[in-house]
Symmetry: C2
Subunit: 489 residues, 2 copies
C-alpha cells in the first residue's frame, strides 16, 4: 500500500462559493447537539469511565429500532422471502407469509429491479384500498406515489411548487424542520402559523387566514399549507372541525394542502381523522365550493407501530391535482429512477396486514398492540416526570412519539443562564440541551430547532428509550440545573 | 363506500406557476418513449393480440433483473438474514453468510433503524479498504458517504456546487441525462464536451481545456467536470493517459472532478483504471501541482454483475475536499435522514465478497463470472447485428451495458423521415425509436436524449435482454424502415 494523501490546503473552494440556499438550510434533529452526542459516544467507546454516564440515550430522533423496539415478525418474514425466494416451500414460513411474498414478487419480479418511478402498481392499489377503507371514500391508485420515506415526498412537492422568494409556504410552529429546510433549499419563503400551547397545541384556522391575507397583500404567492397531524413535535391531534376550517382557508385562497400524517397509527387519546376524509365530506356537502382543493397526503413505514425507519418506505396521495402536476412529480421521481423496492413492499405489508383467520394474524395483532402500549406507558412516565419538574410545563401527547415540554426560564430568574446563552450566541434551550447531554448522555433537540413563540423555550424528546433510569437522571439533572441557575428568593 | 371525487376543473394551478427549473429538466431514459411502452404493455395485458408483438423488451434502461438476470446468492442470503435474524443458527445458511450477517447487524443493529446520515461506520470502512486494494492508495472512511444509488450522490454534489446560471458543469456528450437534469434543477449551466465517436468515443483533454478557457472568458465559474468511465451510453473506457490529461485541466483551473465509475465491474475489453488511482500517482510524482485537486468518485450496487438496481445502494468518496464541504454534504444527507440501510449492507457485500476458502466463495465466483460472460455474449450478438444493418455504424463497447449505434440518416437520402420529424417537432432518431417500439415492442432511447453532435442520430440500447428473437426482429424492422424511407437510387 502506498501513501495516504490527505486534504492539505484550500486554494479555491470557500463557503462563499457554495449554494447559499443549501448553506442556509437547517436541520436540528441531526444538528450540533446530536453531532456532539456522537463525539461523546466515540469517547465512551475508547474510555468508558471518562464521562459521568455509560451511554448516549438518543432521544433526539424518532428511531425506535435504534433503541429496543423489535420489528414486527410479519414484516420481516415476508421481506426475508423477497430477498431470498429460495426460502419458499421449505416449511420455514406460514402460508400467508409465502402467499404475500409470491404476490409481491409477481408484481415487482425482484427487489433488485427498478420499479416504475411512481412505485409498484400492485402496492399502489393496496394503498388506495387502505385509504378507501380508512376514510370511506374511493381513492385512485394513479394518484399514489411511493417514495423513500415521507421526506422525499415533501422534497418533491416543495421543489415543484417553489418559484423563488415570492413563493410562500405555511408551516406550523413548532414544526418538523424538514419543512423549513426544504423551503430554504428552494430559496422560498416560510410563513409561520403558531400552534396554541395553552390549548393542547391546537391549530387556529382564523390565524392562518390572517397570515394568508397579510402575505398576499405583500405580494407573496402562497403556494401550500402544511399540517402535521398528529403533530411533530407537539403530539397534538387535529379535530375534524379545525381540519374543516383549514380546508376552508385553502379553498378560499387556492392553497395546496400538504397533510403530513406519518403518525396516524401513534394515537394515545382521541381519534385520528385524515384531512382527505374531511375534504371528501365537505365535497359531498358543497361540491362547487371545494372542487378546486388540492391535497397531498403523506404516510410512512418509519413511524406508527412499525418503526421501520431505515427501510425508507413511504407514499403520498395527490388528490385533486391536474394530470400535468402528477407528470412533473413523476419526472422528478424518474430522475432518481425509483424508491427502494423493499421499502415499497413494506408499505404493502403495513397497509394490508394479516386479516382475522390468517395464520399470521394473532402474532401481528399482539406485537403491534405491545408496541403501542409500551409507547403509551413510556409517554406517561416521562410526562409525569416533566409535570413534577420546577419551571416546566408539558402537554400530554395525543399522538406521535414526542414530548415538547416548555422551560419557563426568564432572564430575571435565570440571569446567568441568559448571559451564557448571549455570550455563546445560542438560544437558552440549546444551553439546557447541551448541559443535559454532557451531564447525563441524554440527547434531545432544543425547541429553537423546531420554532417556538419568541421568548419561550422548549425541549423536544422522544419517549422511545426503555427503562426509567434515564428519566430519573433527567429529573436529577433538572433539579441541579435549576438549583444552579435560578436566583434564590 | 361513498363516491369517488375526481379532479374536475383547474381554477388556479397552471404550469407557469410551477418551478421552471423543474419543468426544464429532462430525463429521456424514462421519457416519452418508455411511457408509450408502458401504455402498449397495458394494452397487451387487456388484448394480447392487438399488437404485432407479444411483449415489451425494455432496452431503455440498465435494469438487468427486470429482464432475466438472477441476483447473486451471496447477496440475497445475507440480506434475508438481516431482514429476519431468526433465520440464524437454523442450519439454513453457510457459516460465512451467518458471520457476515452478524457483523452487519452488530453495526446497524436493525435494518429498521436510521443509520448515521453518511451511512454505517462499518460499511464505510469496508468501502475504504476496497478502494485501498483496488488502487494501492490509502482511503479514509470519513470521506465515504453511502447514498441511495449513485444518483443521490450526483444530486448532492450538483446541488451544493450550484450558484445559479453562472455556475458551469462540464458534461460529456453523449452523457447520462441525470447530469443535465440535475444541472437544470439548479438553474446552472451545462458545458458540453464531445466524445470522439470515430475513435471509440474517446475523451480529448485539450478540447475540455479549450471549453474551460472559453467559458471562463465569458464569466462562467466552472465548478466541476464530470467523467463517466466506463461510459454511459458509449461503453468507452478512459485510458490512464487521458485521465491524467483531464486531471491536469482540473488542477490548472481548480475544477472539481466528478468520476462516475458505476460500471467499473462491467469491462469487456481493456482494464478499468480509477481516476483516484491516477490522481494519487500524479500526487506521488508532483505533490505541489496536484495537491488542490478535489475528486468525488461514485459507485453503485445497481450495475456491475450485481445489477441490484431496486435495492438503491451506492456510495461516493470525497477525496481532497475541505471539512466544511463534507459537513454541507452531511447536512443535505441528514435532511433525508439516511440512505436505505439494506442498500448500505449490500454495498458491504459487493465490495467485500467471500474470499477463497470461504464456503460461499465458489458459487459467488461462478455466478458473477456467468453474469459477466452472458453480458459479453449478448453485447457481441447485438453488435454483430448492428454491423450488418444498412446506414448504421457502431463502436464495440469496452465496458458498461449499452450500445450506442449511429444512424447515418441524411435529409437527402431520407427526405420523408426528416419531413415527419419536422412536422412532429421531434428529432429524427426519436421517430426511429418510436417506430421500432410500435412495430417490435423494443423500447430504446433516442440519442437526442443523451446529446450528440448536431446532425448525427443515435439509439441507446442495453444488451441485457435474453434470446436472439428480439435482435432478429430489430434487424427485420430496420430493413423495412430503410426500405420505406430511403430514396431508391
Amino acid at each position: 500500500m502506498r501513501r495516504q494523501f490527505l486534504y492539505n490546503q484550500i486554494r479555491r473552494l470557500s463557503l462563499a462559493e457554495l449554494n447559499q440556499n443549501v448553506l442556509n438550510a437547517k436541520y436540528a434533529v441531526r444538528g450540533s447537539i446530536p453531532i456532539r452526542a456522537d463525539e461523546l459516544s466515540e469517547q465512551l467507546k475508547k474510555d468508558p469511565k471518562s464521562l459521568p454516564f455509560k451511554k448516549i440515550i438518543y432521544a433526539n430522533i424518532g428511531n425506535p429500532q435504534q433503541l429496543d423496539q423489535k420489528p414486527l415478525t410479519w414484516f420481516r418474514e415476508v421481506l426475508s422471502v423477497l430477498q431470498n425466494p429460495n426460502l419458499l416451500d421449505k416449511g420455514i414460513y406460514k402460508r400467508d407469509v409465502e402467499e404475500r411474498a409470491r404476490r409481491l414478487l409477481n408484481d415487482v419480479k425482484s427487489l433488485g429491479a427498478y420499479s416504475n418511478s411512481s412505485g409498484s402498481a400492485y402496492v399502489r392499489k393496496t394503498v388506495a384500498r387502505f385509504m378507501d377503507e380508512r376514510d370511506g371514500f374511493k381513492s385512485d391508485p394513479a394518484n399514489i406515489f411511493l417514495t423513500n420515506g415521507a421526506s422525499t415526498s415533501v422534497s418533491y412537492l416543495i421543489d415543484v411548487l417553489s418559484t423563488g422568494k415570492k413563493s410562500g409556504f405555511l408551516i406550523p410552529i413548532p414544526q418538523y424542520p424538514l419543512y423549513t429546510a426544504s423551503i430554504s433549499l428552494n430559496g422560498a419563503t416560510p410563513l409561520f402559523y403558531y400552534l396554541n400551547e395553552s390549548n393542547e397545541w391546537s391549530t387556529d384556522p382564523k390565524q392562518i387566514k390572517n397570515i394568508v391575507v397579510k402575505a398576499e397583500s405583500e405580494g407573496i404567492d402562497v403556494k401550500a399549507l402544511v399540517v402535521i397531524n398528529p403533530g411533530n413535535p407537539t403530539g397534538a391531534l387535529l379535530s375534524a372541525e379545525d381540519i374543516a376550517g383549514i380546508i376552508d382557508v385553502a379553498a378560499q385562497h387556492d392553497i395546496i394542502l400538504i397533510a403530513d400524517e406519518v403518525y396516524q397509527n401513534n394515537i394515545f387519546q382521541g381519534e385520528f381523522v385524515s384531512v382527505k376524509k374531511v375534504l371528501c365530506e365537505l365535497l359531498e356537502k358543497d361540491y362547487e365550493k371545494y372542487k378546486h382543493v388540492k391535497l397531498a397526503s403523506l404516510n410512512s413505514t418509519s413511524k406508527g407501530f412499525s418503526g421501520e425507519c431505515g427501510q425508507r418506505g413511504g407514499y403520498m396521495e395527490l388528490f385533486g391535482f391536474p394530470a400535468f402536476f402528477k407528470d412533473v412529480i413523476f419526472k422528478l421521481a424518474s430522475i432518481n429512477l425509483c424508491s427502494v423496492v423493499s421499502g415499497q413492499a413494506l408499505v404493502d405489508l403495513l397497509v394490508n396486514p394479516p386479516q382475522e383467520g390468517e395464520p399470521s394474524y394473532e402474532l401481528y395483532e399482539k406485537e403491534s398492540a405491545d408496541v403501542h402500549s409500551t409507547l403509551e406507558q413510556r409517554a406517561n412516565a416521562l410526562f409525569s416526570a416533566f409535570k413534577e419538574m420546577e419551571d416546566v410545563s408539558c402537554n400530554m401527547p395525543m399522538g406521535a412519539m414526542y414530548l415538547f415540554p416548555r422551560l419557563h426560564f426568564t432572564e430575571s430568574e435565570y440571569p446567568e443562564l441568559f448571559k451564557i446563552a448571549e455570550t455563546k450566541e445560542v438560544p437558552v434551550d440549546e444551553i439546557y440541551c447541551l448541559e443535559l447531554l454532557e451531564k447525563t448522555g441524554i440527547c434531545t433537540v432544543p425547541g429553537s430547532g423546531f420554532g417556538q413563540v419568541p421568548g419561550t423555550y422548549h425541549v423536544r424528546t422522544t419517549f422511545l428509550a426503555p427503562g426509567s433510569d434515564w428519566v430519573t437522571s433527567w429529573t436529577d439533572f433538572h433539579k441541579k440545573f435549576v438549583n444552579h441557575y435560578k436566583i434564590k428568593k
